[in-house]
Symmetry: C2
């Protein structure tokens, strides 16, 4: 039944939850305890009705005549997104981009713990501050098992991406953040999010032509 409900919730609405969460944190830091859909929506760059509709996909969290309690909304969003506990993540493929993501410490800051980096060519890469071990692909199964890893960041070359994705799925990974510029074909129950920086630039380029 949970599944049925989920298929009815627009993917975009779930993305927006992350946006709302960020805005709410900012409000909280400013000592604001209660917020109306109008104010929060403005901060998030959406229409108030959309915010309200998004929230009602998951339940009723506001008080009519008053608005939403900031703390409670934060709580419920992080509950929904499953970000209350640290989520273990592996990075597979440590070329230029993988290295870049490793030295960028953003993942850790946001509640995701990188429990391993893997590549065909294991090595020790000295990031700006701490050394990071890039392990052999042989160790991948053990690490995924030991840490019960469900999430992977995929930075291998496009030619290898499908194969590695299959491998990850076989090992129990159910969500992949894919940086390889190819369309992965995976079973329905696996979630893929694609990030393609070159595509973002190309897209911008389209809008430049004056």
């Amino acid at each position: 039944m949970k599944k049925v409900i989920r298929t009815e919730i627009p993917r975009k609405a779930i993305y927006r939850l992350s946006v709302y969460s960020r805005c709410l944190h900012r409000l909280e830091n400013n000592g604001i305890h209660t917020v109306s859909s109008e104010v929060l929506a403005k901060a998030a760059g959406v229409k108030p009705t959309q915010l309200r509709k998004d929230l009602t996909y998951f339940g009723q969290f506001g008080t009519r005549g008053l608005g939403y309690e900031v703390k409670q909304l934060i709580e419920m969003i992080s509950e929904l997104l499953g970000t209350k506990s640290l989520q273990p993540v592996v990075i597979v493929g440590v070329g230029n981009l993988g290295r870049a993501l490793l030295s960028y410490r953003g993942f850790e800051r946001e509640g995701f713990g990188i429990v391993g980096a893997f590549d065909l060519n294991p090595s020790q890469y000295l990031s700006s501050d701490t050394p990071i071990d890039v392990q052999s692909m042989d160790i991948l199964p053990k690490i995924i098992n030991d840490h019960v890893v469900k999430m992977a960041v995929l930075c291998v070359p496009p030619t290898a991406a499908q194969e590695v994705a299959n491998q990850l799925i076989e090992l129990g990974v159910v969500a992949i953040l894919n940086f390889a510029p190819i369309v992965l074909s995976v079973p329905d129950e696996i979630t893929i999010n694609n990030v393609n920086l070159a595509m973002e630039l190309e897209n911008l380029s389209y809008f430049i032509n004056e």
Copy 2:
């Protein structure tokens, strides 16, 4: 009139052009000269009708009974996206993420030339292979002018993002790839593409809850 046509083309269709382009290059490398919407769509992970509809937003490029000429389609897409000539880009904000993007050489590979990196704290950062100069923000106007830069990658902290965006727009930048996790408010004629890695992970996290 050009503008009018454009507003009718779904943003998603323009993203898909990039996908098609990649697939077409792969086909070309495999020595394939002609492709049907069915085959190309499969490679791109979309329905054939969608591919055809997407293309007809821009004109008629196929031959009935035959399909599309690979080379010609590649040509027309890169014409549309404006990727035929090297587009100059500046990176503003060289913290962890900015540094990561600099050492990742993906932009250059895809036809975008980084003509400058800027930060409040100029420095020389030694990337894995070549040293990169991080220049003072004072030089930004000169560089943007000299290279006629229309595109910027924004990696400053969220608190500074809006201000820097305003500055860039003032200087003539019309397209911004924004990595800062805030909603930028800009004039309609400016295009913003947001990339937020933490949000992508949070989104995946939602789908993990078994």
